[in-house]
């Protein structure tokens, strides 16, 4: 079978201990929570840290609940995706996020995988998520051990795809992430967390830990939805994902509307120009068509996933439309 490389396993009890272990071992250490991304990646020799720091003993990183003011929903980074998907508060206030968490991989993986891990999921590419033998036969790639991007064949930029289900929703919801490192704790908007570099697509420093996800909750009429394109009804990573969150006036007109599309490039894309199309209007079929058209013009999938890129692009307006229609009744 594919084997893990030898490493030392640490299991600290506090965030501070974990951060200091990560700082102490530097590039030789990686954090692990559910392990559903890291374990196969280690078996593929994409990562070979000498020290693996488990976060699973840190109780402070668990829990789902409101802050005292009741305007921020806090989800501990260690919360399992299955728990996020089924939590009544998440389902009521952030249905799109609950839907997304429930569509990650399959049931066993959702019982292990955490929301913090999903936020930090490594980018994926057909030339990268392969065994050491396979990648050696290929001659490796820009993201790992090589010098060539086999997707673009030109350029020096890795285009591995952001493939996590929950971040597009967190971005659409205006969520922020808490990160703790040796220098202390900082908050960063989920929308600013990701960068367009497929090699390393987040602003998390190697010795920082995502400890919690914080979602602002307003009392207005808020709705959100999520659509995931994949060939099977379970297991698969998205070929395209669409997360939408909207604030509505009492008369049903749009106060604000955010659409995020992902699984195309290294970073989830916040669709531009949506508010000007929809603000002050109801989401009727003409507005939805215009939003879908606007989304299509901004999305250009690449062959980083082994499925027909032209079809994936054509699915952008279809899935945007369906996600917008899905806002009803949520």
């Amino acid at each position: 079978m594919l084997r893990l490389h030898p490493f030392r396993y640490h299991r600290p009890d506090t965030i501070e201990e974990a951060a200091s272990l990560l700082a102490e071992f530097g590039a030789d250490a990686m954090p692990i929570a559910g392990g559903t991304d890291l374990m196969p990646n280690m078996k593929h020799r994409l990562f070979t840290p000498a020290h693996v720091v488990s976060l699973n003993g840190i109780d402070a990183m668990r829990g789902i609940g409101f802050n005292a003011a009741g305007d921020r929903l806090r989800i501990g980074a260690l919360e399992k995706l299955a728990d996020v998907a089924s939590h009544p508060v998440v389902r009521r206030h952030c249905p799109g996020l609950a839907e997304a968490a429930g569509l990650v991989a399959g049931p066993q993986l959702r019982n292990m995988g955490t929301i913090g891990g999903n936020v930090c999921l490594d980018t994926r590419c057909t030339y990268y998520n392969q065994t050491e033998f396979w990648r050696a036969a290929l001659g490796y790639c820009l993201k790992k051990d090589g010098t060539v991007c086999h997707v673009t064949r030109v350029g020096r930029k890795c285009v591995a795809a952001h493939s996590a289900d929950t971040p597009p929703n967190l971005i659409a919801l205006g969520a922020s992430l808490s990160l703790t490192g040796p220098g202390g704790t900082r908050e960063i908007d989920a929308g600013d967390f990701f960068v367009t570099d497929g090699i390393l697509n987040t602003r998390r420093a190697p010795d920082e830990i995502v400890t919690e996800v914080v979602i602002p909750i307003t009392n207005g009429r808020h709705r959100s939805s999520y659509m995931k394109l994949r060939q099977r009804n379970s297991i698969d990573f998205p070929l395209l994902s669409v997360a939408i969150a909207g604030e509505f006036e009492d008369d049903g007109t749009v106060a604000g509307l955010t659409g995020v599309v992902s699984a195309l490039g290294a970073r989830p894309r916040v669709l531009a120009g949506w508010t000007e199309i929809a603000a002050g209007k109801r989401l009727g079929s003409r507005v939805i068509e215009a939003l879908a058209e606007r989304a299509w013009s901004q999305c250009r999938p690449l062959e980083n996933i082994i499925v027909d890129a032209e079809w994936r692009r054509a699915m952008v307006p279809v899935f945007v439309k369906r996600a917008l229609e899905g806002l009803d009744g949520k």
Partner: protein
């Protein structure tokens, strides 16, 4: 997106039987739903598969594989690997320089490559070390110098090559070494048949390659003992052929070689010939004196492959005004991969197995199998005939459409009948195909659905036939194809020594049911010891759907010999005639006087006292007059043929191209269902596997432009997609029993035939739903979407028409 299903329905209809009814069969065990004898052990995790076996001092082996699709091996140096602490031995191709091949006429593989690698993943060297990690580290220390050669990925280019280096040395000077086999056969006057036809339908079809994806990866353990004996445990479905090849290639006396086949976790044809790991564990154990185990990674399973060949097919089919076939003509190019495997047979099967269940006055096929620098293709469930069946059944649907004849009616009209010969002179005996058509038509509500469902939803039908074993073994001999031995204990227990391979299909259970039926013993008193070449008679293996028919008949033969002895002994005790002694329900009972009885244990003891130690053997061999006399006539000949019909109902999302198969009705003529639960299981599994190939599966490879020619696109179960339970349609099994005159209690095969119609039935249903013909597999969302766009943009047929008419809600 396809809709989520809360649960998958399974149901089995009551068997539809020709002739005798249940009560008239006089059978007590056969025909009843029963557990598998190994079911509980497997479902509770107690079954010990090959990888569960461990020995003290056992070493772990690993095989170094080629990163090149085609290259000469200039040099191999294993000295650095052998020097690594914990490494006990290394082997290369030069240590086993003997070619082998499952078909004796095409031996073209070495256990490890000697001077040439032919695909990315071809084995070049192996090591045995104290543990797997050390073995993996040792592979990095083996130095191989390659000289790259041009690679062929496309079978047409391989066939067009006019000079070397070919993938294999030409068998004769001037031949093309990229061709495994060409078969051209013609029966009747095809050109005249096509010319006289009222309509002629012509089409090009492509069937993408698919692989078996058994859950258990291949695994083998070799144990060479000091006494000269060699034992190999292997997850194989052909222990007998492995036994022969191990002895031949390793140059040891076959009498000192023992092959043991532990429970196998799925095979589907992917374990039906020897593989590199079996030779390597044997050789490494002979070198080290230690047991050596090799377990493939999932990636290696994809490289070892032997799955379904990609077929490029052209069909011309002629029919008269009434839809009666006048002639069928085909040209097929098969992409064989790097080695022959069963390819010679596959090439024949691509044409030979199409000639039923429909009458064809004239038929011609011209099939060529090319070598390419990719993992070797071989037999996968429905070997060689699933691909042509897809093309041909779509052709029939097109004829029905053009002639405005209901597709089921068209198939009825062309029915070949029972007790007849096909155009290529294969003998057909029992044939329940019409009942299969009736069943799927009735159960699916066909008459209310075909051409009557709203746009986006449709039904399709297809039929097929398949062999119940091959008339001739892969190596010529006159001995039985199947043998069995029974032995009776003084406790009343019956032991069955069976050489057949239990691969999940239920063969161990099948022989237990037969013994219980014939001797009247409770099932719990039957023990089956199987798959050990030291102790079990030869059975040729679990392939070509041969085992129930052949081993079942052998088992009846053995059991009836034993039964006769028991009847004699009991009759003597009672002063009765042997025919008056009935064995049933754990008792010997006197016919007409049920008050006179004794426990079977006592009856067995009486027989042992009369005849000595009680046991018997039984065997089966095929009839030899069931085929024609032309060259190749024996290939495709079978003692009996199964027949199947499917109706599939689909929903097509025209915006996305997603096809949801809502339900498949599967009617299958298995002769007699020895255990209807197992038959239905095979029917469901087959239909599922065909459905998977129809919608998802693709064994495809990167091109040079994509970084490395011949590199497998996605050798993992994440990216090589097979359907999950959420994707699987509802399946309804409709068992048809034609009671075959030569089958055990009338049984025929059920393990492979029911796969065939899935794919064309789905293709035909897609056409009924949205008016596009899917002629290339798989019918994945992008392909269906493109086909729909092409119709919209161009020829404007049913999609545009129905859309204009406002039919259907999917748009």
């Amino acid at each position: 997106m396809s809709s989520r299903r809360e649960s998958t329905q399974h149901s089995i209809g009551d068997p539809q039987r020709n002739g005798s009814r249940d009560g008239e069969s006089g059978l007590s065990t056969i025909g009843r739903p029963m557990r598998k004898v190994d079911g509980l052990a497997k479902s509770t995790g107690r079954a010990r598969y090959t990888d569960d076996i461990r020995f003290p001092g056992m070493l772990h082996g690993k095989i170094l594989r080629s990163p090149h699709p085609h290259a000469r091996i200039v040099a191999i140096d294993t000295s650095r690997a052998e020097a690594l602490e914990g490494v006990h031995a290394a082997v290369t191709g030069r240590d086993m320089p003997v070619t082998y091949g499952i078909i004796p006429w095409t031996p073209d593989e070495y256990p490890l490559c000697v001077d040439r690698v032919r695909y990315v993943g071809d084995g070049v060297a192996a090591v045995a070390a104290v543990d797997e990690d050390t073995a993996i580290a040792a592979l990095d220390l083996i130095d191989v110098t390659y000289e790259e050669l041009p690679a062929y990925l496309d079978p047409h280019e391989a066939i067009a090559a006019d000079s070397g280096p070919y993938i294999h040395e030409p068998r004769k000077p001037g031949w093309n070494g990229n061709i495994t086999k060409t078969v051209k056969l013609e029966f009747g006057d095809v050109d005249a048949g096509l010319e006289d036809a009222h309509i002629m339908v012509e089409g090009d079809y492509f069937f993408e390659g698919t692989t078996h994806t058994p859950i258990e990866p291949h695994c083998a353990i070799g144990l060479a003992e000091g006494n000269g004996r060699l034992t190999v445990w292997s997850a194989t479905q052909v222990p007998h052929y492995l036994h022969r090849e191990l002895a031949r290639v390793l140059d040891v006396d076959p009498a000192s070689v023992r092959v043991i086949q532990p429970p196998v976790g799925g095979a589907f044809g992917g374990k039906s010939e020897p593989f590199d790991l079996e030779f390597c564990v044997a050789r490494l154990s002979m070198m080290t004196g230690r047991p050596v185990k090799i377990l493939y990674t999932r990636e290696e399973v994809f490289y070892s492959h032997r799955g379904r060949h990609p077929f490029h097919m052209r069909y011309r089919t002629g029919a008269d005004r009434e839809g009666m076939l006048t002639a069928v003509d085909s040209e097929i190019v098969m992409d064989g991969g790097a080695y022959a495997s069963f390819g010679l047979v596959t090439t024949y099967y691509s044409g030979q197995l199409l000639t039923a269940p429909y009458q064809m006055p004239a038929y011609r096929f011209n099939s060529t199998r090319a070598y390419t620098n990719k993992p070797a293709c071989g037999p996968k469930r429905g070997h060689g005939s699933v691909q042509p069946r897809f093309a041909f059944e779509v052709q029939l649907d097109r004829i029905a459409e053009k002639l405005s004849i209901d597709p089921i009616e068209l198939r009825r009209r062309n029915f070949i009948g029972a007790d007849t010969r096909t155009v290529n002179d294969l003998r057909v005996t029992s044939n329940g195909f019409l009942e299969c058509l009736d069943e799927v038509e009735r159960a699916s509500g066909w008459k209310h659905k075909h051409r009557r469902l709203p746009f986006g939803r449709g039904v399709g039908v297809a039929g097929s036939t398949y062999i119940t074993g091959t008339n001739y073994p892969v190596y010529p001999n006159d001995m039985p194809q199947s043998g069995i031995q029974l032995q009776v204990d003084r406790s009343g227990r019956v032991a069955v020594f069976s050489g057949a391979s239990e691969i999940g299909q239920g063969v161990d259970s099948m022989v237990a049911y037969i013994v219980a039926e014939e001797l009247g013993v409770p099932l719990a008193h039957v023990r089956v010891l199987a798959g050990d070449t030291d102790f079990t008679p030869v059975d040729l293996g679990a392939y070509s759907s041969r085992v129930t028919f052949m081993l079942g008949n052998a088992c009846i033969d053995a059991a009836r010999k034993l039964k006769a002895q028991v009847q004699e002994a009991v009759a003597a005790e009672w002063g009765a005639r042997p025919g008056e002694v009935l064995l049933a329900g754990g008792l010997a009972v006197r016919a007409g006087d049920t008050a006179t009885s004794m426990p079977l244990r006592v009856a067995f003891n009486l027989a042992e006292a009369m005849y000595g130690t009680l046991g018997s053997t039984g065997s089966y061999n095929t009839p030899k007059d069931v085929h024609g006399t032309y060259r190749g006539a024996t290939i495709g000949a079978s003692p009996a043929y199964s027949f199947t019909a499917h109706v599939a109902e689909v929903e097509v999302d025209v915006e996305t191209g997603f096809v949801t198969v809502e339900k498949i009705w599967i009617a299958h003529d298995c002769g007699r269902a020895l255990n209807p639960v197992l038959v239905a299981g095979q029917m469901e599994g087959s239909a599922y596997m065909g459905f998977a190939e129809a919608l998802m599966e693709e064994q495809i490879f990167k091109t040079a432009d994509q970084g490395r020619a011949g590199l497998h696109n996605a050798p993992s179960l994440l990216d090589y997609r097979i359907p999950t339970s959420l994707d699987t349609p509802a399946l309804e099994s409709l068992i048809v029993e034609s009671i075959d005159p030569e089958g055990p209690y009338g049984a025929k095969e059920a393990g492979e035939g029911p796969l065939h119609p899935s794919i064309p039935a789905i293709a035909n249903a897609i056409h009924d739903a949205v008016g596009v013909r899917m002629d290339s597999l798989p019918f994945s969302p992008p392909r269906v979407w493109r086909a729909l766009r092409a119709v919209e943009d161009g020829r404007g047929d049913r999609v545009a028409g129905l859309r204009a008419a406002g039919v259907g809600g999917a748009t």
